[in-house]
């Protein structure tokens, strides 16, 4: 199949950037979206042009590195799918496809489709952990956890930190990302001791990084490649409210 691509090209962080049109002939429907871009890039290099820079690594949907907005949708049209697992069989011959980076104030563009997501790491630094020194742990089976709680914690912990939730949100809010980590840890007994401090610090760090607020659009859930539920945002709000009231009383 033959495709027309409109791709965001931006030389570096200070460049203004623009959309550039490329033709992609001879695309095999079994290719992944990133393999299609590989083919386009190989041709650009052969012509002496600079290839399109984009982030990717595991190419199996788990590292969270790939981050393309395709036709206005983070990770493209398929639900529950990262770009690296999106295959060209979901497009038609002759399609025009626009490819942009995540757009959010807290995720500045570094080059072309590559963005900086260090803000997520800083949010985790503020409290997204259980403070256990190596060696201090008790026997693993000394702590019983109901299967339902462990399963629910795992649902939240499945977050790959890609940032599609932020890119999809009209407010560029990181609520789903923060909610997933807060919920994962507060659903487990190990996370109880620090749970109030954790939620207050993570939310305050999120605000400082320049992410917006949640106004219940639920675009985040729709874009999440791991289909993490917005119910966790409700969980986060409950945790936050409780901790906030307690800290002020």
């Amino acid at each position: 199949m033959k495709l027309i691509l409109h791709v965001w090209r931006q030389k570096n962080a200070s460049d203004k950037g623009k959309m550039v049109r490329y033709e992609a002939p001879n695309i095999n429907p079994h290719m992944s979206f990133l393999e299609m871009l590989d083919v386009v890039n190989e041709n650009l290099i052969r012509q002496g042009d600079e290839p399109i820079a984009f982030d990717h690594d595991c190419r199996e949907g788990i590292c969270g590195m790939c981050s393309l907005t395709i036709n206005g949708r983070p990770h493209g049209p398929e639900r529950g799918t990262t770009v690296c697992q999106l295959h060209m069989r979901h497009f038609k011959d002759g399609d025009e496809i626009t490819i942009e980076p995540w757009r959010a104030k807290a995720f500045p563009v570094i080059k072309d489709l590559v963005i900086a997501r260090d803000a997520f790491d800083r949010i985790v630094q503020s409290g997204g952990f259980v403070s256990v020194r190596t060696g201090s742990a008790q026997d693993a089976n000394a702590l019983l956890i109901p299967k339902e709680n462990a399963d629910k914690a795992m649902d939240a912990a499945a977050c790959i930190g890609c940032g599609a939730c932020v890119a999809a949100c009209p407010n560029a809010s990181a609520m789903l990302f923060v909610a997933a980590k807060v919920s994962h840890l507060s659903l487990l007994p190990q996370g109880q001791i620090e749970k109030e401090k954790r939620v207050l610090n993570m939310v305050s760090s999120m605000d400082q990084e320049g992410f917006g607020n949640c106004t219940n659009h639920y675009e985040c859930e729709a874009a999440c490649p791991k289909e993490i539920s917005v119910d966790f945002i409700a969980h986060l709000n409950r945790e936050f409210l409780g901790a906030d009231m307690k800290s002020k009383s």
Binding site: E35, G48, C58, M65, E78, T134, A140, Q190
Partner: protein
């Protein structure tokens, strides 16, 4: 090159205790004077960095990704082994130790493997305390499942995302230390050289992948946890960025490289679909708990799998290895699949595939139960192939997955360069010639949480902190040499892309040094690789400049190293005139086609010493001494 494994004297079960007692300690108030540089932030690197920082050392860490959470440990699916014996099915430290040595075809170091089995229990405790959401039974206890090469259920798991959850545990411990200011993290930074002063590792030279700036960092010890070299085959289950540059450049500075020919081909991967293929995707070995592997008994059978009646199906693993059946170890299962395909009995259009069938398990346990256990894996399979594995069997084929070889280390995980330690897949020590499933996560975390933090103090206690800084001429020399290589790559301005060379190298490696290796194929590879390397340096095309984010330049440096390293891998395969584990030499097999070891001549670690560019490296041997187990012919029949 002196190879002193420094294995403590005394009975096997007491060696680690003895080492811990004999190790010199660094006084708590002196720890902050020492700086440790940790390169790579996967399971081994992140767990080591976090633990060293908790102990009070200054730590600086480096990774090429945008965050430590991206390391490829994250993609491990199936689980992590530990000798907890919670199911009460006869497991013990001794049994995990024995299974691992046997699984490695008696080519691993006894003392290291025993220690691994000992600390395996602490790893599970530590991870649970961090909040890793392992699978549980309804009563709240941890659940276990079985894995290849074992007859007990000792594998802990978190759905099909065990690596992800363990890595996030280590990542969160690391981020906590970064937040406390005890670790300084450098993301999007690639290590390009190790700096030595008077033969001792004193620092590293790196390239900032955003600005292109080349600079050096000094430390009192350097820890490499940079993963394996599977991408020398181009197509593998590794992430695209995985590379051998750090360990290869350390080798060129004097670190011995052990057993590079030990590469693991994983039996259950999604088959190649075309020339554009950029990587291969693994389907977790855990699937073989419930999936049955088969192919048609008839050559060039064009029927769809549903149309092939039971009588025409060959469940070849169950037939050949009745006691382990579909859970035979990876090397054995891969070779059996290859044999069936070589006989013309392969499945799918390419004929390079066999079936992994869940119909029987779905009938016995119900679709819901299978979905709970493997849902995400089935989902992933369907995404990639467009086929529904609940309805039709999966097609699988072996692919390069893990590399057991790596930089040589002693019992303390120190390489032949004093002050440089090597952890995880980057070292060679625990898996012998074949790694068992669910053992990579165990080894990475054992090295990072428990082994290195103990052994490194013994080294640091003997050196003066901060003895050399980056103003030293050795650092300047390293920076200039590194910049010069970058300049050379950009200056070639030829006609072929980096990926083009990488694909060709991968094809040579797979065809001539893959699942079956012969003297003729290896000699042919030894001729082709230097020719390809010469062409690379005269005809590669790298666009852009060095002072910016330049992904083709990054790749070019890595492929340049693979083009050198591949030759060493082949050379090692040629010199090891026996078959063992993942290394199968067609000249050395039993009458029924199984690997035939030669313990008289090859019961040793082969360690290669760099002797200069275009000079033949020297092969050294570390004898493997088995005091506690009897060297047996591995049988899973």
């Amino acid at each position: 090159m002196k190879l002193d494994s420094r294995i403590p004297e005394g009975p096997l079960a007491q060696k680690w205790d003895k080492r811990r007692f004999e190790a010199k300690l660094v006084n708590p108030s002196n720890k902050r004077k020492y700086k440790v540089l940790v390169v790579g932030t996967g399971l081994a690197g992140a767990s080591a960095a976090a633990t060293l920082a908790e102990q009070g050392y200054q730590v600086e860490t480096f990774c090429y990704q945008d965050s430590p959470r991206r390391a490829h440990s994250i993609a491990a699916q199936g689980g992590i082994n530990a000798a907890k014996n919670y199911p009460n099915d006869g497991d013990s430290i001794q049994r995990l130790f024995y299974d691992t040595v046997k699984g490695g075809d008696f080519r691993a170091r006894e003392a290291n493997v025993y220690r691994l089995a000992q600390v395996s229990k602490n790893i599970i405790d530590q991870c649970v305390a961090q909040g890793v959401p392992f699978a549980r039974e309804y009563a709240g206890y941890l659940d276990n499942r079985s894995f290849g090469g074992a007859q007990v259920s000792r594998t802990f798991y978190a759905r099909g995302q065990t690596g992800q959850q363990l890595l996030l545990g280590a990542y969160q411990a690391l981020e906590r230390q970064i937040g406390l200011g005890t670790v300084k993290m450098h993301t999007r930074t690639e290590m390009l050289d190790v700096v030595l002063h008077e033969g001792v590792a004193r620092g590293i030279t790196v390239r900032n992948m955003i600005t292109g700036k080349i600079s050096s960092y000094a430390g009192d010890a350097v820890v490499l946890a940079t993963g394996g070299y599977g991408n020398v085959f181009y197509l593998s289950t590794n992430a695209k960025g995985c590379n051998a540059t750090a360990i290869w450049r350390a080798y060129k500075k004097g670190a011995g490289f052990a057993n590079p020919c030990y590469t693991q081909i994983h039996p259950t991967c999604i088959p190649v679909s075309g020339d554009y293929q950029s990587k291969l995707t693994l389907m977790s070995e855990s699937l073989r708990n419930d999936g049955r592997v088969w192919t048609s008994k008839i050559k060039k059978d064009g029927r769809s799998p549903e149309a092939i009646p039971e009588n025409d199906r060959d469940y070849f693993l169950e037939r050949k290895y009745p006691s382990f059946g579909n859970l035979a170890p990876r090397d054995i299962s891969s070779r059996a699949a290859k044999e069936a395909c070589d006989e013309g009995r392969g499945a799918g259009e390419s004929g390079l595939g066999v079936y992994l069938d869940f119909a029987e398990a779905i009938g016995r346990l119900g679709e819901k139960s299978i979905r709970e256990k493997y849902g995400n894996l089935f989902h992933m399979y369907e995404k990639i192939t467009g086929e529904n594995p609940y309805k039709t069997p999966m097609r699988i084929y072996p692919a390069v997955h893990y590399t057991m070889g790596g930089l040589w280390v002693d019992y303390d995980l120190m390489s032949t360069i004093p002050g440089m330690f090597v952890l995880g897949e980057a070292n060679f020590s625990d898996h012998g010639a074949n790694r068992l499933g669910a053992s990579a996560l165990m080894q990475g975390l054992a090295d990072g949480y428990f082994v290195l933090p103990t052994t490194i103090s013994d080294y640091l206690a003997r050196v003066k902190p901060g003895a050399v800084d980056t103003e030293h001429p050795e650092f300047k020399k390293s920076e200039i040499q590194t910049a010069e290589m970058t300049r050379k790559l950009l200056a070639v301005n030829g006609k072929r892309t980096v990926d083009d060379f990488h694909r060709e190298l991968g094809k040579i490696m797979w065809d001539d040094c893959g699942m079956a290796r012969s003297e003729a194929s290896l000699l042919s590879a030894l001729k082709k690789i230097p020719e390809l390397r010469a062409e690379f340096w005269s005809n590669v095309k790298v666009t852009g400049s060095s002072e910016e984010l330049n992904q083709s330049l990054e790749k070019a440096g890595r492929v340049a190293d693979f083009l050198e390293f591949g030759e060493l891998l082949v050379l090692d395969a040629l010199e090891r005139k026996e078959s063992c584990g993942g290394h199968f030499r067609v000249e050395h097999q039993t009458a029924d086609g199984e690997a035939k070891r030669n313990d008289d001549d090859f019961c040793h670690v082969a360690v290669w010493e760099f002797k200069g560019t275009n000079q033949k490296p020297v092969r050294h041997e570390e004898p493997l001494v088995y005091d506690n187990i009897h060297l047996a012919t591995r049988s899973y029949k």
